[in-house]
């Protein structure tokens, strides 16, 4: 089981802030493909992953990263703090 959280326009486009998923995805990219196959809203949000960032267990990571041992995956646009 993995918790998936979404922020900013990714959250708005998918229409969810958080969900828990039973998945066999080996990498972040596999998880994204699995989500996109479920519903067009995910396909719209993940249309261009170069415009997105991913964090695994609250640490910035990348789409090729393995999901083994990951409890929380977060997807969001590039950050705009400061």
């Amino acid at each position: 089981m993995v918790d998936i959280v979404y922020f900013a326009w990714v959250r708005e486009r998918i229409g969810l802030a958080r969900e828990t998923l039973q998945t066999d995805a080996a990498t972040v990219a596999d998880l994204v493909a699995e989500l996109c196959a479920r519903d067009p809203r995910y396909a719209a949000a993940f249309a261009d992953t170069s415009a997105l960032r991913v964090a695994l267990n609250q640490e910035l990571s990348d789409f090729d990263a393995p999901l083994a041992g990951v409890r929380e995956v977060a997807f969001f646009p590039p950050m705009t703090g400061g």
Partner: protein
Amino acid sequence: MRISVQEAPFDFAAEMAGFGQGRADVGAIVSFTGIVRDDSGQMTALELEHYPAMTERAIAKIVDEAVTRWSLGDCLVIHRIGKIAVGAPIMMVATAARHRVAAFEAAEFLMDYLKSRAPFWKKEHSASGETAWVAAKDADEDALRRW
């Protein structure tokens, strides 16, 4: 060292009152305050979303690096979240170092990294009720390369 992520406004004077003072190894204190600016003439407020489980940890990592690299005697980061009116303070950093150059550089480093490596997202609210997410700029990412 102190990090605060808060909805409430902060009191700049109170925050700076004792910061980095009363010690022999600090010769320079620098602070930066960010204010909500309106470039379009239509904006009423900026709304800050963040990733609560990650925010403080991400900021702590940036602060730790600045403290080590510039041997800071003290360091403060306050970042507000929620809806903030145009003209109001959104965040501040302060650095205390042995010398001026280190204090300035560390403050700039903190600002550059807080902009693109701390999980905050800005949404603009306009007078007409419309909202728009602020896009990250390539220049913000480029700014990290100088460090």
